[in-house]
């Protein structure tokens, strides 16, 4: 019966997300052009678009955002960092195989290159945008704002749609003891054990 309850972030996001075809099927820079900070610094961002953007819903802690970035230009573009309104910290992560053959995630040194005329997929079990220190729940059906910064300083903003998801339980490498033992999202790692996504396929 509560008709008023609308988290602050939700309403802010809904306003901006309305431009993203309501549902984020495709968020291009053009579509986000109304956002004041859609593109700043250089102009590399103008050649990028991102589609199918979503984030694993979580009550707190860590989670990850996903989507497919397309580079329509004749030059490779490098994504060097990520930020989000959902938490103070976001990092670009990739998966690496440990000595025992299991996949663990580590921060991507130097960022990700989106090849000229090609795509870069952020996806569960692969490269992803790690979101750490979530304190306000990311609810399924809400959007969070994510900004990718490119090496020329320009930025690509998009709304990632919250989805309940029980995959994407990547574990950290042992060198990253700060986060060891945590999983992305709110799922039951304590009972599920450390699931190494994509480990045996």
């Amino acid at each position: 019966m509560n008709t008023q309850h609308t988290p602050a972030r939700t309403s802010a996001v809904r306003r901006s997300a309305a431009a993203v075809a309501a549902l984020g099927l495709v968020a291009t820079l053009a579509a986000c052009g109304a956002d004041a900070d859609a593109a700043t610094g250089g102009d590399e961002a103008a050649s990028l678009s991102i589609a199918d953007t979503w984030v694993k819903a979580t009550d707190e802690g860590m989670t990850a955002a996903f989507g497919v970035v397309t580079n329509d230009s004749d030059e490779d573009v490098t994504i060097v960092s990520a930020t989000t309104d959902a938490s103070p910290t976001a990092e670009l992560h990739t998966m690496t195989m440990g000595d025992d053959g299991s996949m663990t995630m580590v921060e991507k040194d130097g960022g990700f290159v989106v090849p000229s005329g090609g795509t870069l997929a952020f996806e569960p079990g692969g490269d992803h945008i790690m979101i750490m220190g979530v304190t306000e729940p990311i609810l399924p059906g809400d959007d969070v704002e994510v900004t990718l910064t490119l090496d020329d300083g320009s930025t690509l903003d998009f709304a990632a749609a919250g989805r309940t998801y029980t995959g994407a339980n990547e574990t950290y490498g042992e060198d990253d003891t700060e986060h060891a033992g945590h999983d992305m999202g709110d799922m039951d790692m304590s009972t599920d054990g450390a699931t190494d996504a994509g480990d045996d396929h």
Binding site: M1, N2, P7, L23, G141, R163, T164
Partner: protein
């Protein structure tokens, strides 16, 4: 190994002969097609049924007047505690997005079995709300008066397992794998919002197996649905118009009744008795007073014995009202589930109807059938649910948005 060589060679020769025959047959067929059919038809790929899509966006939801697909799943869900207006908005945004993607033959946003989305097969997803959605969303004043359980009927033997529900998904496609995948994804989408109350699956003839426009048959062997109205001609039978206000424009209602058929006692009835019970012939579906399926029944015609040809107890007489407003669109599916131990069958109909106003259209007819219908001897309603079907999602909207915001 001469023996092996011989047998292998003769197999190959036989195979070639078969292939040659097939090629000849295909060649002959192609000539016929070229002579009689549109060349575009002859060129249709053999997976055309799988590739076909239905438009998702519009004033009205798909899956109502869409020509019925071969397979259906009806999933009733109950709201979790704390479900409120904000939750409804979030859930409908998620469902709208994934339904649109799936109906286009593309994976859902967080789809973990993406390849299963590649065969849309005229997939439709239709969303319906039970009374609790209106209450939870603070919209009780917008709930239509008819949105409540149907009145109790004497023939009912309702089971909780098939009755009620706060939300419903109707998922239909011409491929059962497609239905299964869509249901899986949509139920996963909703897992923090709802719990599954019941699932009913149903089927009709597979695509390409009967001429298009053929009325379905139920598992009692009857042609079932001959009298369905043409909603294109009479939209007001199903759809709320702008007169209903912007919140309800394009909406309708869905009744889902699970009708068990006792095929084992039906077996005891001979063909003449079966036809008299319904008032139609089994072979053509024609009324007993006519020769073709769509002939108008003559309810006054009397036989040599002075009795009406279509008896006072016959289903088609009882299902017909003098009041032409008391009609609705039937869109049912057969079910044939595993029988209980010691039983031979567990079959029936997921009897699904769409109408603008349940109380004005559906209930009066059901009262007539409850009072008298010889078919009641072999059929028993064991489930019942009523849902409001909000208007469709126009461009930029989620399903149900106008109900909430108009």
């Amino acid at each position: 190994m001469p023996a092996d060589g011989t047998s292998r060679r003769s197999f190959l020769q036989g195979g070639a002969a078969v292939l040659g025959g097939a090629a000849l047959a295909l060649g002959g067929r192609a000539v016929v097609d070229a002579a009689t059919a549109d060349p575009a038809d002859a060129a249709a790929p053999d997976d055309a049924a799988g590739r076909a899509t239905v438009a998702f966006r519009g004033e009205r939801q798909p899956g109502v007047t869409t020509r019925p697909q071969a397979f259906a799943a009806f999933v009733a869900l109950d709201l979790v505690d704390g479900f409120d207006r904000d939750a409804l908005v979030r859930l409908m945004r998620i469902w709208t997005d994934d339904a649109e993607r799936l109906m286009a033959g593309t994976p859902g946003l967080a789809d973990q079995e993406k390849e299963l989305a590649a065969v849309p097969a005229r997939l439709t997803v239709t969303f319906g709300y039970g009374p609790r959605v209106f209450e939870a969303a603070g919209l009780a004043d917008r709930a239509p008066g008819w949105l409540r359980p149907l009145p109790a009927f004497g023939v009912d033997r309702l089971e909780d397992a098939w009755t009620g529900g706060d939300l419903v998904l109707q998922v239909c496609a011409d491929d059962e794998v497609t239905v299964s995948h869509a249901v899986r994804l949509l139920v996963k989408d909703a897992r923090t919002f709802t719990t599954v109350r019941w699932v009913q699956r149903g089927f009709r003839h597979a695509p390409g197996t009967t001429p298009s426009g053929t009325t379905m048959r139920n598992l009692m062997g009857q042609v079932d649905g001959t009298r369905n109205p043409d909603v294109g001609v009479e939209p007001a039978l199903v759809w709320s118009s702008d007169d209903a206000g912007p919140a309800h424009a394009g909406s309708t209602s869905m009744v889902v009744r699970r009708i068990a058929m006792n095929l084992d006692t039906w077996d005891e009835l001979d063909r003449d008795g079966r036809e008299k019970a319904v008032g139609r012939r089994l072979d053509t579906g024609a009324p007993l007073t006519g020769t073709r399926e769509h002939d108008e029944p003559d309810l006054d015609a009397k036989g040599p014995n002075g009795l009406t040809v279509i008896g006072p107890f016959a289903h088609i007489r009882r299902a017909r009202s003098e009041n032409t407003a008391e009609r609705f669109l039937r869109r049912g599916y057969n079910y044939d589930d595993a029988p209980a131990p010691g039983r031979l069958s567990n079959s029936g109909l997921v009897f699904t109807t769409f109408q603008r106003d349940v109380d004005a259209q559906f209930v009066p007819i059901q009262r007539r059938l409850d009072e008298l219908d010889l078919l009641n001897e072999w059929t028993t309603p064991i489930g019942s649910a009523v849902f409001y079907v909000p208007g469709g999602a126009r461009s930029g909207e989620y399903v149900g948005q106008r109900l909430l915001e108009a």
